[in-house]
Symmetry: C2
Subunit: 390 residues, 2 copies
């Protein structure tokens, strides 16, 4: 049995980056750049007006003849005389010899001329060519996450394709003779199988959309056969169930016989102590507890960073938060606790119903509050660390 | 021109809830419940062992004969005698007349009998029937967001279909003669069109996956015709561009002629002052600035809560955060500022490059820092409010 911090380090060390692939920018949301990108153009590509107004050569004069007009998209490079101005709109090309734009609110105008009532400083309201980025400058470093703003920026530079890390293909293997598919009648002694659909949804929250679910009987032969088929085809395999003390033997044997190297089994934490992590070649295997809340806790704490590492994220763990504790917490277990909690802008409250089988508490929670194994008491008002979820 | 708080109130008041629809639980991630749900079963559906161990009738005795075994999924309701125990596994049915389970770590066992070395209290390690939820109790109230944990909980109750609010259908109408499609050669005076792909990605982050983009020429006739076609078919229409002072006339006219009621135009903020919000029947229309960073700011501040309101969310605004400011901010504009900023666990830093045209800053930011219009200075070390993004 290892500590949480050791387990996290083992996961980070053993989850390699996925191969790279080219994809269209419009489909790149949530992917991570596998290359450093350089700009094919300067942005703006020409001197642009930042306002609706008039472009002119700044001097002591206040009155100018309006000799032309420049809409966004135009490129009439008129050569202005000292007493001339061009009607101009936001984003439009500023004629080469104009140096200043006065906003329309600061002039009095008739059809032919303007009187500047509020003289701008020289170069005012003109965006320099390449002000945002110059040709061949770095757009984004490798390992940048592609956000909506990043997509917008790439598109405005005319970039249509980028190289990103592939998303891992994930398989979920469900074991458990007690499990019945929701929608069917529930025989005595059985329960509905809920972990696969829950884990599929959790995977969707990090952009893993297609997850294949395999169901096998609770025995060595079936588990061995399923793993043999699954391991070469997937990048991450989540086994749900078959990992608590009574069941573990055959899952472990099936993994070993399929050449999966054990990296850890059991972590000094609550809930979610029984978890196996192993690897065969680049494929990662997590065997998660059958208890739904334990399973989801371990998903957020261990599977999530493994996937983010494989996807090339610079920061792989859930972003931690600090909040003030609303009520005392005791921890006599000697284990790291992950408590379902609800935080607001400043404080955090631990929810009732922390049992590892209780998913309804998890559905109400927006975070897991971490109580370290060596901390016996957290006082009301103390600052504590949370992992935000959902 | 109205204040930010008034604009937010107008958006909230005018965005009605979408109609409800039934969908499979497995596809419900990110939807919001339109009904209060009651449990069809008790969970657990029977008394369950919480441990791998032995079920027995607790007494003064320490030695018991092991007469049977109960795996998860079994239902052998053996009637135990006082000196008998059943080998039992986590999640398995506890025979009706057993009252206690001892975990296997607390016994010495041979094939036929056990000696309890560490006697549990009566009822220990037995999960009561309905401990988590009883038949006909409320599972989730209406307006609950469906998270991975919620999906797991619904599935474990055998629920396969739920009634949720539909997601709105969104159209993006792009105007601007200066715009060229990325991938094509960029003629002088033109820029690449980037707002549609950026807004599509921003919509994806709230689960709006299919967004139709329409492009029209910068004139009244084309805009009017496009709006006439789009308005009856979509729940939300985003117009990109055509809203700054020089362009506004024809967009406004096209909207009015199509029966769109103006609810506000221009907000006392920076960036993103030029924004139109209107409504025709239940369809909402936002005309956003052409400047990419202004457009995305207004998306997060106004469009995002409108969509969340239509989707039935109980809380529609971005969750606010409080952080300590790393450097002084001056605000002499008299406007509310939304500054691209980067926060960590405790502090926040305003990024360089706040111009409304600069998307690269937005791509680096993880939040918008709000400086209220009536605050002239925020001091270093002061607590400030952020809207987290991405």
């Amino acid at each position: 049995m290892i500590q949480v911090s050791e387990a996290l380090a083992v996961v980070a060390e053993n989850s390699s980056k996925m191969p790279a692939q080219k994809i269209p920018v419009g489909k790149a949301l949530g992917y991570v750049l596998a290359e450093t990108l350089y700009s094919p153009i300067s942005m703006p590509p020409f001197r642009q007006s930042a306002m609706d107004g008039y472009a002119f050569i700044r001097s002591e004069k206040h009155q100018y003849d309006v000799v032309s007009s420049s809409q966004a998209g135009d490129h009439s490079n008129i050569k202005l005389k000292e007493n001339e101005a061009v009607r101009i709109f936001t984003g439009a090309f500023v004629p080469d010899n104009a140096d200043t734009v006065v906003m329309q609110e600061h002039v009095m105008a008739n059809e032919k001329s303007i009187l500047i009532t509020n003289m701008p400083t020289q170069f005012a309201n003109v965006r320099a060519k390449g002000e945002q980025i110059k040709k061949d400058e770095v757009v984004f470093e490798a390992n940048t996450l592609i956000t909506p703003a990043a997509i917008g920026f790439l598109a405005c530079l005319g970039i249509t394709e980028i190289t990103v890390y592939k998303k891992p293909k994930v398989a979920i293997l469900v074991t458990g003779n007690e499990l019945v598919k929701p929608g069917k009648k529930l025989p005595k002694g059985k329960i509905y199988e809920s972990n696969s659909v829950m884990l599929k949804a959790a995977l969707q929250t990090i952009g893993i959309k297609k997850t294949k679910v395999f169901k096998v009987k609770d025995n060595l032969k079936a588990t061995k056969k399923a793993l043999k088929e699954i391991l070469p085809k997937y990048d991450i395999v989540l086994i749900s169930g078959g990992i608590s003390v009574g069941d573990y033997d055959f899952v472990q044997e099936a993994l070993i016989e399929n050449g999966v190297e054990e990296l850890f089994y059991k972590i000094n934490q609550k809930p979610g102590k029984p978890i196996f992590f192993g690897r065969k070649s680049e494929t990662l295997v997590f065997a998660l507890p059958g208890n739904p809340a334990s399973s989801l806790t371990n998903f957020y704490v261990y599977v999530y960073p493994a996937i983010k590492n494989r996807m090339g994220f610079a920061e792989i763990h859930l972003p931690k938060m600090i909040r003030k504790l609303n009520a005392e917490i005791a921890n006599t277990s000697g284990k790291t606790l992950f408590l379902k909690a609800l935080y607001d802008e400043t404080h955090v409250t631990v929810l009732d119903g922390q049992s590892s089988a209780m998913l309804n508490t998890f559905a109400t929670a927006n975070s897991l509050l971490i109580v370290p194994d060596d901390v016996e008491k957290l006082k009301k008002g103390e600052f504590v660390t949370l992992l935000p979820i959902n």
